[in-house]
């Protein structure tokens, strides 16, 4: 029995695989920087260490990670039910719109105001995220296509709502300033860390418990892994999938609301924010495990902030991180990446076991005679 407990590096195969993917794509980005920059070493140094050098940079990373964590958690719940529904983007944007509407058009005392607006944003977000699945269920249209279309629609609807009812006249495009009773207060002085960070921590715990410890999470995962089997053992798969979409969308909408009233003083999102793609990246890098989502989100946010610091000091466009993200997703998504490596190791292991079993059998055989 002891032999099975022996340390085997292959138990960490998925983590190693992701790390190698990250290293490969970082190297590729470094190569690109070497080609286009006049001072490549300085640029790379700034990108990798920049955020650590100032207190501001460090907190920037945490602030930047917050929306990524929310979208990644939202996608974690909704994607693991086995449908590729990215309606969370619409939930996130509309969440921010709903939050702004509640902040500006409803008067309420301090703490209650935030609770109401975040809950409202969450409910709307949840409904938005279930929409593609509901329609897809009855008409058999691909939910991915529907979700992409709905994301555009909700973006324009949200934008129209803000321009029609909340817009401040004169000055740059944006809503009126939020009243203090609606904003999430500062957590640490001298930074823009807000109470949304605390809500985020609770959400992380909630998703971990929901997905990994509760029976609902188990049903979601089972439905995602094999819907026919799930149906066979008596799980109401339709309800489970829709429930997962609603919870995912709820988290997405909440994330949008918290980002809006936490980080900003007024609504100024004039273009599609598209946190969903970054969230997808975080979700995939975390190996679909909510436990790792905060770490990977901070990693991605770190790269983003690093790239921006680099662009300020070395005049390289920060969008270079996009290459890195693309390559990482490609490598992590491909099943066959490092596959032969693992296969060879498994073959070796099973050969060893067979050999041992043979020896054992021979020994026992000898004893019995």
């Amino acid at each position: 029995m002891n032999e099975q407990k022996k340390f085997d590096i292959m138990n960490y195969f998925s983590a190693i695989r992701i790390l190698i993917a990250i290293v490969i794509s970082l190297l590729l980005v470094f190569v690109i920087i070497f080609f286009v920059s006049d001072q490549p070493v300085y640029a790379i140094f700034k990108m990798m260490v920049g955020p650590l050098q100032t207190k501001r940079g460090l907190f920037n990373v945490l602030e930047r990670a917050t929306p990524l964590i929310f979208t990644a958690l939202a996608l974690n719940v909704s994607l693991r039910s086995g449908v590729f529904n990215i309606g969370v983007d619409g939930s996130f944007y509309m969440g921010a719109v709903i939050a702004s509407a509640f902040a500006l058009q409803v008067n309420m005392p301090n703490v209650i105001h935030q609770i109401v607006l975040i809950t409202a944003a969450g409910i709307i977000g949840g409904l938005i995220n279930t929409l593609p699945i509901m329609i897809g269920k009855y008409t058999k249209i691909d939910p991915t296509v529907l979700a992409i279309m709905f994301n555009s629609i909700f973006y324009f609807v949200g934008l129209a709502y803000v321009s029609a009812f909340l817009l401040q006249k004169g000055g740059s495009w944006g809503s009126y300033y939020f009243p203090d009773s609606a904003r999430l207060g500062n957590l640490i002085r001298g930074t823009s860390m807000h109470w949304g960070f605390v809500i985020m921590l609770f959400t992380i715990v909630f998703v971990i418990v929901l997905m990994e410890k509760s029976s609902f999470g188990y049903k979601v995962r089972l439905t995602g892994a094999n819907p026919n089997f799930a149906k066979y053992v008596g799980i109401k798969t339709v309800l489970v999938v829709i429930g997962a979409q609603f919870i995912g969308g709820f988290i997405g909408g909440m994330g949008g609301a918290i980002e809006m009233v936490g980080m900003y003083k007024r609504f100024q999102w004039q273009s599609q924010v598209s946190y969903v793609w970054d969230g997808l990246l975080v979700h995939m890098l975390a190996n679909e495990n909510p436990f790792f989502i905060p770490i990977t989100a901070i990693f991605i946010a770190y790269l983003r902030v690093g790239a921006e610091i680099m662009s300020r000091s070395a005049r390289l466009d920060p969008e270079i991180v996009a290459f890195l993200q693309g390559i990482v997703i490609l490598l992590v998504a491909s099943e066959r990446f490092l596959y032969t490596f693992k296969k060879r190791h498994e073959q070796k292991l099973s050969l060893q076991q067979a050999k041992k079993a043979e020896e054992k059998a021979a020994l026992e055989g000898g004893n019995s005679i």
Binding site: T139, T144, A164, L280, A322, G326, I329, A333, R336
Partner: protein, 308 residues
């Protein structure tokens, strides 16, 4: 509503149909081979930039177009390599390419031209507009059908080509067989991956022209994010047309109509501007719902009549 009878209105419908039509054809041919290509959006964007940059530096339209087409096929093959050979999740690979494309084009643009927004500082070639002889002399239809960009005519030709390829040739039959059922086609001796890669090559060519139409046809330069969801729309068009290029052409026309209507409504009505922009998308979803419901009903009736 006077504009409905003006030839300009119908002319701009055909013009705004072109990029979506090309993207739809790209989606059609890969979906017939059983591939769900989210990366059409990114491919178009990359090709739009490639065409502009190469034509600006070589001063040659042909070289720019060739480079665009080459890169289009290359990007499609990157998707094919990771999705088919490395067995990656098709959606995730598409998303990856789109992410790299949206950021990557901005990075390249900023590195080459110094501007993050557009390539207007470069002098790049554009595809010419063509006045079609004989047709241009027909009173009303002439001014609608003639004078389009050469890529528009090319797109019409591609529609026919794709239809002919898919439904009238052995190659097309094999591609469709692969899309219908991979295992059966494999046992019938069809090289499944070869068929998929052939359809991906077509997809790359079509997306490349779709992208280059935007940056070297309807506009004279590349602007960041100029594809603006047309690649994603093509997937919806593909669902409407069920992979048939002729129906794809029809559904792209519907989109062109919706988009042109939007432009005219923005000009002539007092409705909220931002809300009108959602009109094409809502319109497409409604059409999609109708088509799908009708199709489901037909299927149900057929089943019933078979049982009787």
């Amino acid at each position: 509503m006077n504009y409905l009878v003006s030839p300009n209105f119908w002319f701009s419908i055909l013009a705004s149909t072109t990029p979506v039509l090309l993207a739809t054809l790209a989606a059609n041919i890969v979906s017939k081979a059983g591939i769900f290509n989210l990366a059409i959006e990114g491919t178009m964007l990359i090709c739009a930039l490639t065409g502009v940059l190469v034509s600006a530096f070589t001063k040659s339209l042909v070289l720019g177009a060739l480079a665009g087409v080459f890169i289009g096929i290359a990007i499609s093959y990157i998707l094919g390599y990771f999705a088919l050979i490395m067995k990656g999740a098709m959606n995730a690979c598409g998303v990856a390419i789109n992410l790299a494309a949206t950021g990557g084009t901005v990075f390249v643009l900023a590195t080459v031209t110094g501007s993050k927004a557009s390539s207007s500082s470069l002098v790049s070639s554009t595809f010419p507009n063509i006045a079609v002889p004989f047709i241009k002399n027909i009173p009303f239809a002439g001014s609608i059908l003639s004078g389009h960009n050469i890529i528009t005519y090319l797109a019409w030709f591609f529609t026919f080509l794709t239809w002919f390829l898919l439904y009238k040739t052995k190659l097309g039959q094999e591609i469709r067989a692969v899309g219908e059922n991979e295992e059966t086609s494999r046992s019938a001796g069809i090289n499944v991956n070869l068929m998929k890669f052939i359809s991906l090559a077509f997809c790359g060519v079509y997306s490349a022209f779709g992208g280059m139409y935007l940056s070297m046809g309807s506009l004279k330069s590349f602007t960041a994010g100029m594809v603006a969801g047309r690649g994603y729309l093509s997937l919806a068009m593909n669902s409407i047309s069920q992979g048939n290029p002729i129906l794809g052409f029809a559904s792209s026309l519907i989109y062109g109509f919706a988009e042109t209507m939007t432009v005219y409504l923005e000009l002539y009505s007092k409705l909220n501007l931002k809300l009108i922009s959602a009109f094409p998308y809502i319109f497409i979803i409604v059409v999609l719902l109708l088509v799908q419901t009708i199709k489901n009903n037909i299927k149900k009736n057929r089943k019933k009549s078979l049982q009787n």
